[in-house]
């Protein structure tokens, strides 16, 4: 009995100490973690629609349709929309966040989720680094700081400027060997985008 009491006491003390330490660490890191989360969200929105930053957003939920209206200035009419398009590709549902203006022209697109075949369909999120070992060494030796260039996934970058109403797989360069995944992205954007435009007008 005495032993049992000792076990309970020891475990209790160990847990108490652990809880106290973790509470301390959590209080210190929480504001930082939340700031990081907000930054990540803002970044995703900004990539889809640069105008959305600092402007009023309004979430619309209409049955299955769910999207954000972006208001610029104090207008009553939204200047654009941000939505998430989903469609089954080759082996997974591909989710794309898309921003478009009121006329349907795409301001940016970014794949949020996909689980396509590595090396084929998964290339829809591929980013080609332009930095080589040679250029990096050169840069290191010359000590001249070159401005960081932002590299974006090349597949979704080609959507910029296209119109959701008539964007088609034939207008863009599909990923080699992954026609089905490429098509799914394009079609999901066209379907969802047109649906929202129709609902708004």
């Amino acid at each position: 009995m005495n032993n049992l009491l000792r076990f309970v006491l020891v475990l209790f003390l160990v847990n108490l100490a652990a809880a106290a330490i973790l509470a301390g660490v959590y209080t210190v890191t929480r504001p930082k973690i939340e700031a990081q989360k907000k930054m990540a969200e803002a970044k995703a929105l900004k990539e889809a629609m640069p105008e959305s930053v600092g402007n009023r957003l309004e979430k619309v939920e209409d049955g299955d349709v769910e999207y954000w209206k972006v208001f610029k200035d104090e207008n009553y009419r939204p200047s654009g929309y941000v939505f998430i398009a989903k469609k089954y590709g080759y082996s997974s549902v591909i989710e794309t966040m898309v921003g478009m203006k009121r006329d349907g022209s795409i301001t940016g697109a970014r794949i949020l989720n996909q689980n396509e075949t590595p090396g084929l369909g998964a290339k829809i999120v591929e980013i080609l680094s332009d930095k080589t070992l040679k250029s990096a060494l050169k840069g290191l030796l010359s000590r001249k700081k070159e401005p960081e260039k932002k590299i974006l996934p090349y597949f979704t970058e080609q959507f910029k400027g296209a119109n959701v109403k008539n964007i088609d797989i034939s207008d863009i360069d599909a990923i080699t060997g992954a026609t089905i995944s490429s098509k799914a992205v394009v079609e999901s954007i066209r379907e969802k985008g047109s649906e929202i435009l129709n609902a708004e007008q």
């Binding site: 080759y90 082996s91 997974s92 689980n115 396509e116 075949t117 590595p118 090396g119 084929l120 369909g121 080699t176 060997g177 026609t179 089905i180």
Partner: protein, 314 residues
Amino acid sequence: MPSNNLTVTPSPHIKSPLSAKKIMYLVILSLLPAGIAGIYIFGLCSLKVMLISIISCVISEAVFLKLRNRDPKAILDGSAILTGLLLAYNMPPEIPFWIPIVGGVVSIVLGKQIFGGLGHNIFNPALVGRVFLQISWPVYMTTWKNPKWAIDAVSSATPLAKEGARGFSYLDLFLGNHGGSIGEVCILALIIGALFLIFTKIISFHIPASFIGTVMVLAWIFGGEGFFRGDFIFHLLTGGLVLGAFFMATDYVTCPLTRKGKIIFGIGCGVLTVLIRLRGSYPEGVSYAILFMNAVVPLIDRYTKTRVYGVSKK
């Protein structure tokens, strides 16, 4: 009793006049019609791939045998040539020349020699090479070329790709008049070779029959919209099913020894093939299915061991 683990069937054991070497060359012979068909359909580039692949396999085998101080004469047993040939049959005809080279090295070194050489390999070496290439360079391994007489010279989607061109007639698919891997397209030629092997009793019909049968039944049930509406003939005639079932699943070293075991092995291959074809993220499941079942062969052998006559069950 160590011998008990090796002898699966009870005596008497009849010694066959066929040696391993003879069998290898007979299998190569039976594969020739499919190769000739591949060259006829896609042109001389098919021959090039086959030669590079075979040479790569033979050289890696020779180098490895030398490194391990084994008798270098073993390269003449035909197994390296057979591996190289099977590997080439799994590739599209217009593939960069270095892919069959890498494939040959991987097949022989990782698929066979690392386990101890012929007879000790757990997995079919040609399939190890093929899967390595398929995962590593999927774009090259799935860029098919149309037959040389087709007007459309641009690569087209393989018929097995999920939304693939269904415009082929069964006759076209049977004769190989469509894009695909060198040795997989012409079903007619493959069947000629397979019949030869079965009639000379080099392979038994158990694995191919249960493998293909399972694929067809499951494709019929689950392959279409709703149940029992799948196009099972399409599943039979496309991809590497015929080549895999007759020539790769039946590899002596990597398949079970008893009849019952062979049937279990074939059914397992079939189930996995359909599962990967319909639900997986790669278009073709035959090679993955066979490799997977290869890994289970020791287990199958253990549980299908024939009871010795006159010995009680327990």
